[in-house]
Subunit: 190 residues, 2 copies
């Protein structure tokens, strides 16, 4: 295995793009899509809260707590999980501005390990990767990610690999990122 | 339905007991138990991070972000979820000091709704409730919780109801709270 180590999360990108460009980032699109899935009782998939280590809290009154100092910490798992058709669903979602490849530095080694564990225990585990400049969003199953990592020494997955191995998620109006349609086409075969 | 509304989470209790009495609170016991389950490749169940709304951040340098103001927010779902034997597992864990009953005010209405949805979609959904003074920890399936809510007008579940309907989780050394043993005895019947 050729996992990337000591990856630092770019806090600026991940926590702020979604607020400034609400409805445009992959995270915002996925949140709206998951909300839509829940509203039609199709699936219950949520984004986990961002892990934060709180170091100072003020209590002006019993029910009001203001955090005065805290730090972002590295997530132990992936960002999204939930249930669909009785199956446990687990994935990480990432954007890249590159037109040619997706750097494995975007994914923590323990997140890949986590997705592997989920798959082995009967869940459906994958990445959703958006090439923002190309406006293409792909669903890459964990097995295909592992195949790349096992066979290649490159630290980034070329777009070609996504074109050949991953599943293009077509833009739609509602939900914006209909990744469960892709899962539907795969279920049984997974 | 007789759901409690407008519940306020007691931040002091929930976020600090677990740190001060590490290894003694239900949360700490569950975290250690889940870690143990992962270490023997039995199940992948995690506590979700506490949801926090960040309102002010300082960036002294690119990789260092210090949160200067933030607030605890109400969680949209339950605290724990994951996968066991291919099944989606979802639960909320609560402690009470009462010797006689568990107040439904401890659970948000939308958390009960969430557990109901999970059950309907094929997951295993429950509460783990610890009566700290009695040192008794129970696993109450969502259906039995709903039965109580549907039939009774009381805002708290008497200990008797747990004794009759829930499953006592016996203390053990490793894992401390072996709730999957209880799930094992139920799987198939759920």
């Amino acid at each position: 295995m050729n996992y990337p180590n000591g990856i630092k999360k770019d806090i600026k990108t991940s926590s702020f793009i979604s607020h400034k460009n609400r409805g445009m980032s992959l995270e915002a699109d996925l949140n709206i899509s998951n909300e839509y899935y829940r509203s039609i009782d199709k699936a219950y998939i949520y984004k986990k809260p961002t892990p934060i280590k709180v170091t100072k809290v003020d209590y002006p009154s019993r029910d009001k707590a203001t955090i005065k100092e805290a730090f972002y910490t590295i997530p132990s798992t992936t960002d999204y999980n939930g249930i669909y058709k009785g199956k446990y669903i687990d994935f990480e979602a990432k954007e890249t501005k590159s037109k040619t490849s997706f750097s494995l530095n975007n994914i923590h080694a323990h997140q890949i390990e986590h997705l592997k564990n989920i798959k082995r225990h009967g869940g459906i585990a994958f990445l959703i990767v958006r090439f923002t400049t190309l406006n293409q969003t792909y669903l890459l199953l964990i097995d295909d990610l592992l195949e790349f990592i096992d066979q290649k020494t490159r630290k980034s997955i070329p777009l070609d690999y996504f074109v050949n191995k991953a599943y293009l998620i077509k833009d739609s109006y509602e939900p914006r990122v209909d990744y469960l349609k892709t899962i539907d086409s795969l279920i049984g075969g997974i």
